[in-house]
Structure formats: C-alpha cells, structure tokens
Symmetry: C2
Subunit: 429 residues, 2 copies
C-alpha cells in the first residue's frame, strides 16, 4: 500500500467539491506520478448539514472549526478555497505557522499580501502554491517560473478576466449594448450580482500583480497599477474600433522598459492580426514577449469549477512530489528583483482618441494644432457622419509616450465644446 497524503480543505463549494472528485477520478495516474495515495480527509464548512452529500461520497470529515484541521497532525497540505482576505489570511497564516503546506486559488489575497505570505512560508519551510489564482485553466505561473527561467521577459499581456471578455465579445459579435452584455453575463453566472471587481478591472489587476511578480521578480502594490475597467465602453467605440481594424479587449499589461516596469489594466484596441484578438467569450489568454522565445501565448478557460479544481490538484501533486523527495520549502517563484517603476515618459504606445466636437469649420484645425504642439502625429483618422450639430472624430496616433498621451488628453479637455469620449491604448499585430 502506498503512503497516504492527507489534505484539509477550507471551503467545500463548487471548486472545493471538485478537488476530491478529481483526486478520486484520476487516482491511478496521480498515485503513479506522486507515489502516494492523496485524499481529502477533513473540510471546513459553514454548516455541516449542507455538505452531507460530499462528506459521505468522499469520506470527508466535516468541521466548522479551523483548529480541527490545523491541529490535525496527519494533514500535510491545506487547500484554501474560501476567497477574499479574511478569514482566509488568518487561516493560512496559522496553517503555515503550524508547518502545513498551502495551496490556494485566492488572487485577492496573493495580490495584496503575497510577499508577506511567501516570506512566512519560507520561514516555516513550507510550500505555498497558487497556480489557480491566475487564469484557472492556464498553467501560466508554473510556465513562467520553470520554462521561462532562462529567458528575459519583456512584456506580459493578458486577457485575464473572463466576464469582461465575454461581455466585449457579445458587444462585438452580437452588437449588444454594455447593459445587455452585463445582464447576459450575470444570467450565465459569469458576473456576480455586484460586478464591480470584474467590470472595473480590479480582478484583472490582482492577476497582473501576481503575473508581474513571476515575470519580472518585482513586488508591485495594487496602488501602483493604473486600473481602468470597461464601464465607459460604448457600442459606438466597439463599432469605430472595428471600422479601423481593431477589437476592444480588457487587457492587463505589464511591460519592462529601462529596467523598470509599468503595470496597467485598461480596455485597449487590439489589431485583428494580434493573437489576443481571437480570444473569445469567457476564455483567458496570456501573451508573452521575451528575448529568447519571442512571441508565445497560453490560452484556456479563465475560471470554472473543474478547470480551477484541476489546477489546484496540479499544485497538490507538485507538493506531494516535493514531500516525497524531501524538497519542500522552496519558493513557487524564485526570481526576485528590486521593484522599479517606469516613468510615464518611458512608456510608449499608440493611442486612440475619440472626440465629439461641433460640426463647424476650424474644429479639426484646433485639434491638429494641439496634437502638433505635443509632437503627436496621426496614423489613422476617421470622421463619422454628423447629426448636423456635433461631429464625431476618431484618431489613432503614431507611437507616443504615455506622458504625451496625458498631455494631449489634458489639452483636449480644456477646449470648450470638445468632448473627449475615450482614450485607449492600441496594440498592433
């Protein structure tokens, strides 16, 4: 008989229930790869009565007291699937202090307290893995930590929020309005009743903080991320982008310039030829540009109970192998670098400006003069049919700095009668 490895599970919801399911379904393969028989022995639940089915099916002892799990000496790994900051943080802290290895899918926690928890795991010689915290079904953290260890990553661009990508896909392919697309996403269970974290880009920002730590070894504070969601995106923007040959996507971007990095989440115009433009519906993808490999992209489901639980079990397998080999206590990502941010005048890109102005002579002259003064030139221009009173004007600039973009934005906003509808970054193919 193989050695038993016992898991304590915090949270037995849809993802949580997936963990014992996968361990049971792929028992033979997992036991062959790890040399161990891995089972969930205890689970922390809010109400023991509600989870009787899972308890009986998988022979899991239920408890409402975290101490029952932390003090169980037979349990080696604790899997945290409660989410949010508290009580998850307290539980993980106590577990690490008791020498338990941790697997978690908690992006909020890792993005905001990752450094602290990683250090605590190190001090206690424990493993702390969290592959499922970013793009559930895509093993992107492990890929960066292992396979790109020999490479110099220059740019990470991600569609890392499934809800907003689903909404934007519907706005493009079915010409739905923002409100219709949101209602549909909520109906399908992608978006929560309070969609703030998704549509305002906060969820994507958490993931970009974690991705930046892996790609560049730098610990970025959430406050250092320039975050903008998709609330301001109208069907008009989507249509104009399409006319110019682009698709609007909510992109998380982390880019190295001059030794520093800039991390941003914003809706961007993605050229049809860019691999990210083809990512539809609730799927996620992470596109990496590195010195050695060049372009690579990793695509898969961003969330969902099964993909997330599968990712959690792959972390459990990693820890099981480490236990067998006696090599626990090493960091998930061993690349560490001093954190340095890039200044706005060293961040470059093409930008899209959409402006409403009075439909009378001399308006475009005002705009072009202002652009010329900021040393900004046009790559594409589009003037739409006007209603006789107001004209809509869209332009894509040549490559400029973020500082120039901010300056032009400020100047346009100063012109009475002009309304700046949107400023968006452009990703070419």
């Amino acid at each position: 008989m193989k050695e038993k490895l016992k898991i304590g599970l915090l949270g037995l919801g849809t993802v949580g229930s997936g963990v014992p399911t996968i361990l049971a379904e792929h028992r033979e393969k997992i036991s062959q790869v790890t040399g161990m028989d891995i089972v969930v022995s205890k689970a922390l639940v809010r109400d023991e009565k509600e989870k009787q089915y899972q308890s009986e099916r998988f022979d899991i002892e239920l408890t409402t007291d975290i101490e029952d799990i932390i003090n169980d000496e037979e349990i080696s790994i604790i899997v945290e699937l409660i989410g949010k900051i508290e009580p998850a943080k307290t539980y993980i802290t106590k577990a690490l202090e008791s020498g338990k290895h941790i697997v978690t899918a908690n992006k909020d926690l890792l993005a905001q307290h990752g450094g602290e928890l990683v250090a605590l795991a190190q001090r206690n010689h424990c493993d702390l893995y969290y592959e499922a915290s970013v793009a559930g079904g895509i093993p992107i953290l492990r890929t960066i930590a292992n396979s790109l260890a020999a490479d110099d990553i220059q740019k990470v661009l991600g569609i890392v929020n499934g809800t907003t990508n689903y909404m934007l896909t519907k706005m493009v392919s079915e010409k739905q309005t923002y409100e219709e697309a949101l209602a549909k996403a909520q109906e399908l269970g992608f978006a929560e009743s309070d969609p703030t974290n998704d549509v305002d880009g906060i969820d994507a920002a958490y993931k970009m903080v974690i991705l930046s730590q892996f790609a560049f070894g730098m610990n970025i504070d959430l406050k250092q991320v320039d975050i903008r969601g998709i609330r301001g995106i109208s069907s008009d923007d989507v249509a104009i982008a399409s006319q110019l040959g682009y698709e609007i996507k909510l992109i998380g971007s982390s880019e190295k310039n001059d030794g520093g990095i800039a991390v941003e989440v914003a809706p961007m115009l993605v050229a049809a030829a860019h691999p990210l433009a083809s990512i539809r519906d609730e799927f996620n993808a992470v596109f990496i540009y590195s010195a050695g490999v060049g372009e690579s992209m990793y695509y898969g489901p961003g969330a969902g109970a099964k993909p997330t639980a599968t990712s959690v079990v792959s972390d459990i397998i990693t820890i099981a192998k480490n236990i067998r080999l006696g090599t626990t206590g090493h960091m998930f990502n061993e690349y560490q670098h001093d954190t340095k941010l890039t200044a706005n005048d060293a961040i470059f890109g093409k930008y899209y400006f959409s402006i409403e102005m009075p439909d009378k002579p001399g308006q475009i002259l005002k705009l072009t003069k202002l652009m010329a003064e900021a040393n900004v030139s046009f790559d594409q221009l589009l003037q739409q049919k006007s209603d006789g009173m107001r004209a809509k004007f869209a332009t894509i600039t040549h490559t400029i700095s973020k500082a120039q973009m901010l300056e032009v934005t400020k100047q346009i906003e100063k012109i009475a009668d002009f309304e700046l509808l949107n400023t968006l970054k452009v990703l070419e193919g």
Copy 2:
C-alpha cells in the same frame, strides 16, 4: 562564490552557440534561480578552426573527440545538438553510462529510441530532458507532465511543423501554389533543400510520438502513426476549403477513444472558429482537450536558434535544480500506461471528399447511392462550375468512423470516370 556547473556541448552551430549566449546574458537570473554558476566548458565540433570565435568569446575548450567530454569528470550535463540518429545515439548512450545528465533537442532520436534511452537514464540515475524536441519555443512537454498531471487528456492536436504551416499560410493568404510556397520557404531557410521530412509529415509524426508519450503515457512506434504530408494539396483544395469556411492545416492528432489511442498526421480542414485556424506562418501551436481543464492551447515559435536554445537552457536549469536538491534520476514524464491502439471503427470525425466526375446526368446519383450504402450522410455540398466535360464536386460528411471513410474512398475509386482528388479530415470549431 557560487558552485560551478559545467556543461559539455555536442554541436556548436546556430542553436549550439545560442546556449552559452543565453547562459551569459541571463547569468544573474539563472544563478539566482539555481544557486549555481552554469557554464559551457567544452564543445564537440567537427573542425576546431571553424569555431574559434565562439571558443574565445565564451571560453569554451573545443574538441573533435567525444571521449574528451565524456571522460571529463567536471562535466555534469551533456547537451546534444547534433541531430539525427547517429552518432547522437551512441554519444548519448555513452554519456548516460558515464553518469552524465542529458539535454537534447533531437526529435528523430526521441521518437524512435526514446523508450530505450529513458530506461538507460533511469538505470544510471541520470536526468534526460528534451523539451526542445517538440515545438521549440513552447514548453508543452513540461506543461503536460506537470500541470496536466491531475487531468485526463482526451485529445492533442498540434500544428508542430513550422515549414508546412508557413507554406499553407502563403497558399491561403497570397494564393501561392504549392511549388511557389515551397520555394519561398526554402529561400527563407525554413525548409531544407530536401524538404521530405517536413512536407511528407515525418517531422510532425516524430513530434506526435513524443507528445503521445507525455499525454497518454503510451509508447507509440512511428509505424503506428498514420502519416500523410501536404504534397497532394493543391490551390484548388485551399480555395474550396475557404469557400466552405475552413482553412487547410497540417495537423498532428493524437486522440483517446475506448482506452486506446489513434495517432495521425494529415492535412485537415480546420473550421475558421477553431483556435488552430488562427495559427499563421511558421508558428506552432498545441491544442489540448482534457476532462478537467477543457480546451487549452499553447502557441509560440516552433523552431529557430534562439527559442530552441532558450528551451534547452530551461532544461539545463531544471537539471541544475535537481542536482542542487539531490533529486536527479526521475523521469521527465512519469506517466506510463500500456499502449493500446484504437481500431478504425472507433475513430470518428467528419471528412471532406473532393471528386472530379464527368459533367453529365446521373453522376451525383452514383455518388449519393454509394454514400447511402455506407451509411454516410452529407453535411455540406459544393459543386463547382465545370469546363463542360468534367465537374468538380466537394462534400463534407456528418460524423462517420474512419472505417466508413476508408470504405467510401474504396468505393469511389472503383467508379470508372470518377477521380477522387482528396479525402481530408475536418476539425470543427
């Protein structure tokens, strides 16, 4: 000062020279991650005079005698980049017998003698890594071995030959003929002067043998792979496919059914909505369908000196970590399963038939009768304008078995006056 880890390099061509380059360029990061200072100390070359530049630049001792490297006790890892079967196989065998760890990018060797070499590495407690042998810039083997260890893979579909994908892209986007596309690929250095291995699907078959071993734990013999290249593909096929909403791609497919697998390399019609349809030019991609994660895809450069050398160095880093932790001697892929092949009546798919027939009454009746007798029904039909004498007819069937496809093919070929131009499998989106 950190411990030095010395590498012996077999072959110092473009990929070979990339290895010391990457080790030097990313020295700080690599040393942080491995805790070692990794250098190439010796290289096996055909002519010492030709490689003086690399020798001086990276302080590498050149030799034309393999024994100089194998008998060097300071060398822990040997990197084989000679390619083909011999003398690479003899060198690797001797090296493993002398306790050296191996990194190789040699797909021919791994596909044909992988089992034997893996067993030899095991017996000698040595590491044997070969990530660069499949899709150079895509860490697909490591992803399957580690991240999908918790999953049940059902299907692996790959665009794993850059030359043919480049050619087919040109045939679609620039309406080039097969001959023009091949000439262009040769001009750019993608295709060798003898392009047999690429255009006849053999290179892709090697990679599918290796991918099948990782995905399903089964050792497939090259003879068990149904291999067909792109030589028979005409501009006409490409144009008809496009009219029906598909793109022709050379696809390596390894699929599990009924506990057995079927491995095939063939040009297939890929629906425009399928993620593989968007893979252009010389890029590679591997699409996986698994029970837990669902759809995932890994995209990147398939070859090239820098991506391949980067992949080789990621294997070196893995072994360096294993050496540091004292955990060498484990298999790259620990998943092993008895090999079982699926019978043709348990392999299912939609198929495209393109047929030339006399342009006179009753011809389509013959065809539809024959299809009905084999219990095959049509999903799409397309009859092209005829020259008055011969008509061209293309059809896509509903899902049928491979056995049915072969039966229909045989029956069509029996009809005098009919010419079966092509039979291709169809991948829906």
